[in-house]
């Protein structure tokens, strides 16, 4: 698994917050300034938890850009600076 990617497929909603905590700690210690969180699309609940987390912790984020210029709404790019 790429060090800058957290794939949340298969995680239960109540695990998501802790998983993102763990990921952010790891990414920071890798000195990465940019990381990706794959929420998938699904029901949108996992994505909402992640977005709430990022807002609360004040990390800027955007959807990953596809080569056709559209947003990939299943992957969030987080800026850690």
């Amino acid at each position: 698994m790429a060090k800058d990617l957290l794939d949340l497929h298969g995680f239960k909603t109540d695990e998501v917050f802790d998983a993102v905590d763990n990921f952010i700690m790891s990414v920071n210690q890798n000195n990465l300034k940019r990381a990706r969180i794959m929420t998938g699309k699904g029901t949108g609940v996992v994505k909402k938890v992640v977005i709430d987390y990022l807002k609360q912790a004040k990390y800027p984020w955007q959807y990953e850009k596809l080569s056709n210029g559209k947003n990939n709404e299943g992957v969030l790019v987080v800026f850690l600076d």
């Binding site: 698994m1 060090k3 497929h9 298969g10 995680f11 239960k12 109540d14 695990e15 917050f17 802790d18 998983a19 905590d21 763990n22 952010i24 700690m25 790891s26 920071n28 210690q29 890798n30 709430d52 807002k55 609360q56 912790a57 004040k58």
Partner: protein
Amino acid sequence: MATPFIELKNVSKNFVLESGTEIRVLKDINLSLDQENLIAILGPSGSGKSTCLRVMCGLLKPDSGDVLSNGKPLEGTNYDVALVFQSFALFPWETVYNNIELALSPLKLPEREARARVKKAIDLVGLEGFEEAYPRELAGGMKQRVGIARALVMERPILFLDEPFSSLDILTADTMRWEMVNIWQSKNTAVRTMVLVTHNIQEAVYMAKRILIMGSNPGHIRAELVNDLAYPRDENGPAFRRMVSRIHELIAESVIPDMTTPSAYTATSMIPKVVREPPIETIPNVQIGAVIGLVEAITDQGGTADIFELGPKIGKDYGTTLYMVKAAELLDLVDTPKHMVILTDLGRRFVDGDINVRKRVLHELFGALKIVQLTTNLLRIEETLRIQIETLTERVSEWLPNENPHQIVETLVSWGRFAEYFGYNDDTKEVYLDVGQETL
């Protein structure tokens, strides 16, 4: 004295809710995590203990105040810290071995060293034989062992445990508490200081040498106790029980004080004392059905109960019980001198009555609450006697700026519906004054 691993100096933290309302979750927190200690941060839910922990990790930045790591301002996340989570948060598609090894990836260790570290962590938590298992094959206790091994493998001096045993069964949790004390006591790991975040008083007294007790609204350190009982601790021993009782009393004093003192955060605090109106009381986030159940349970015991013994009788933890008692007291159904809970005359009238009498009594008691009166006034000035729930939430956030207005409105409307005071239409998201007609 050695420099503390982590210090928080006058740390305050606010959260912005979805509605845009800002609430203060931590206020002026001062604490230091000394080296070579096992510390518990104990508090009811909503007291900000997990937020406090995440500030110490560097996962959240405080809005004011300083976070020091080894005497220097903390930048980014805290490299000295490893975390164990309540929900385990394991990668479901990775084996036990890989879940632990993945924690090492930022360290870029030679493969041989990484393997040796993973093996040691697996030995320490008793996971031998499960290396190739997937999380779905494991019971909760074994999953948490993986979570602990994943933290230990990083060989950090500080280990944070965020409610680590609260989703485990009682026996497994008991075993793991003792194992964690052993891990801390042994010189076989890098862990020098362990910090347990918990709402479980017994757990804090069983494990910790220093206990920081947090209070709510906003989260603050209410008291600090040193727990010098020798390990292994006997939960039935008199000294252990004395310590538990002392903490019970400290928490009870903060949630249901004997003397009602006006909150420092009332909406009326700017009005001179002589004409100051009663403060706006917050409503504990408990269901009215649970409050009625509590009052009935106290009646079954002759109208008097010891608050410390009530929880096990009604099947609730101490924190929840306290908030149920607080709700009953707010409604004047019970009185709480010291740690006793005594049914009031109104409480007796309520319990003795049939459903209609109960509703009438509750209607009367509910209507006496300042927050209900303010809400009623808000509805009365509308021609339709109804407002959007968001409007009410905004007003509540002005009346009680340090509380979660969504939670209060939810409870207010739920109690109001039972007391036939307010109604709520989920389709239009409107709260309305219940004057005996569904539609006005």
